[in-house]
C-alpha cells in the first residue's frame, strides 16, 4: 500500500465518508474508490452491493481475484425522547453496533438512572444536535410525542439527510405533524421520508417489541437496495 493511499483512507474515514479499497491479491496493486465515484467504476455493481451490506469480500473480475475492503462509517442512532420505548431501543441498537445518543430536555426523563451506559444529552434539540455532527450514516428517531421537541429535531434530520427518519405517532398525529412542518417550509419530499407510524408492522405491543420493530425498519432501510428491479415493480403494479 502506498503511503498516500493510507493517508487518504484515514482522511476519508475520519470524515465519515465510505470508501472501498480494491486490492489485486496476486501482485498487491490497489486503488481506493470513494463512494461518490462508485458510478464511474467498472466494478460499480459489486462496490454498491458490498457497501450496502457493510461487508468486505473477494470478487473475480477479468480472471483476477480482487479483494474489496469496505470501510464504512459506524452507523449512529439519535433518539429524541428519553421515554420508555427509548430505554428498550438504546440497548438493542447498541447490540447491533450503533453508536447511540439520547436527547431530551426534560431532566426527569433524561436521567442516567434510566439510561445507564448511554450517551445522554439533557438539552433542547436546537442546542444538542448541532454538536453531534449528524450525517447520512445516522438513523434518527423522534419519540417524545411532544411537537415542541420532535419538530425542530426532525428539521435537523432533514437538513443532514439521515438515512432513516422515524417519528412516533398515529396517522392522525402524523397528519397534524404534516400541517405544522409544511407551514415551516418542509418540502413534500422531505416530509414523505418520515416513517410514521414508526417501525415495521409486527403487531408490537410492549416497548421492547416496538424497539424491535423500529430496529427492523432501520435495518431494512440500511441494507435493502433502493432501486427495485423492473420485473419486481411490474408485479407490484399490475
Amino acid at each position: 500500500m502506498k503511503a498516500e493511499t493510507l493517508a487518504i483512507l484515514n482522511t476519508e474515514r475520519a470524515a465519515r465518508r465510505p470508501v472501498i479499497l480494491v486490492t489485486d491479491i496476486s501482485d498487491g496493486t490497489q486503488r481506493l474508490v470513494k463512494a461518490a465515484d462508485f458510478g464511474a467504476d467498472p466494478l460499480h455493481a459489486e462496490l454498491d452491493k458490498q457497501l450496502r451490506m457493510g461487508k468486505s469480500a473477494m470478487v473475480e473480475s477479468d480472471g483476477k481475484k480482487l479483494f474489496l475492503n469496505v470501510y464504512a462509517p459506524t452507523a449512529r442512532l439519535v433518539i429524541i425522547g428519553a421515554v420508555h420505548i427509548s430505554q428498550a431501543l438504546a440497548p438493542l441498537a447498541r447490540s447491533l453496533d450503533y453508536d447511540v445518543t439520547v436527547v431530551d430536555p426534560r431532566t426527569a426523563f433524561a436521567s442516567p438512572e434510566r439510561f445507564p451506559d448511554v450517551k445522554l444529552i439533557a438539552e433542547w434539540p436546537d442546542e444538542a444536535l448541532p454538536g453531534l455532527n449528524i450525517d447520512h450514516y445516522t438513523a434518527f428517531v423522534a419519540v417524545t410525542h411532544d411537537p415542541k421537541i420532535d419538530d425542530p429535531a426532525l428539521l435537523h434530520a432533514f437538513e443532514k439527510n439521515c438515512f432513516y427518519i422515524g417519528a412516533l405517532g398515529s396517522r392522525k398525529t402524523h397528519a397534524k405533524r404534516a400541517d405544522r412542518l409544511k407551514a415551516q417550509g418542509v418540502s413534500e419530499a422531505d416530509f414523505a421520508r418520515i416513517k410514521a407510524p414508526i417501525g415495521l408492522n409486527i403487531g408490537a405491543v410492549s416497548p421492547s417489541e416496538i424497539a424491535v420493530s423500529i430496529m427492523a425498519e432501520i435495518t431494512a432501510e440500511l441494507r435493502i437496495p433502493k432501486t427495485i428491479p423492473a420485473e419486481l415493480s411490474k408485479v407490484s403494479n399490475p
Binding site: M1, K2, A3, L6, A7, L9, N10, R13, A14, T23, I25, D27, G28, G54, K55, S56, A57, M58, F67, N69, V70, Y71, A72, P73, T74, D97
Partner: protein, 109 residues
C-alpha cells in the same frame, strides 16, 4: 464492533511517518468458523510491535514473523492458515476455520 479499526490504521500511518517499516495484514477470505471477518486488519512495524487482529490471537505470531519479511523485501504475501495445514495447527487456529491473510508493505512507491 466490526468497524472500530480506525486507531489501527492511524497508528500505521503514524509509524510510517516516523520512519518505521510498516506492514498491513488483512483477512481476505475465511471458511468455516473463522474468528475475525474478512477485512479485519493487523498492522505491524519493524520493531515487531503490532495492533489489531486477524484471528483473535491464534495466528498473530506467525503473521508478525511473515510481516517482518514483507517489510524487508517489499513483496506482498498471501498466507493461509487452517486445520489442514500442520504449521497453522501448530500456531493454533484451533477454532476449526481456515483464513487467508494478505500481507503488504505500507509505503510502497
Amino acid at each position: 464492533m466490526l468497524n472500530r479499526d480506525e486507531d489501527i490504521l492511524q497508528a500505521a500511518e503514524a509509524w510510517q511517518k516516523a520512519g518505521h517499516g510498516v506492514a498491513l495484514a488483512t483477512v481476505v477470505e475465511t471458511w468455516g468458523s473463522a474468528p475475525r471477518p474478512a477485512g479485519s486488519n493487523l498492522v505491524i512495524n519493524d520493531d515487531g510491535t503490532f495492533l489489531g487482529s486477524v484471528s483473535g490471537g491464534c495466528v498473530e505470531g506467525a503473521v508478525v514473523t511473515e510481516a517482518l519479511d514483507v517489510i524487508a523485501s517489499g513483496e506482498p504475501k498471501l498466507l493461509e492458515f487452517g486445520v489442514a495445514d500442520e504449521t497453522a495447527w501448530n500456531v493454533g487456529l484451533s477454532c476449526g476455520g481456515t483464513i487467508r491473510v494478505f500481507v503488504e508493505k505500507v509505503g510502497q512507491s
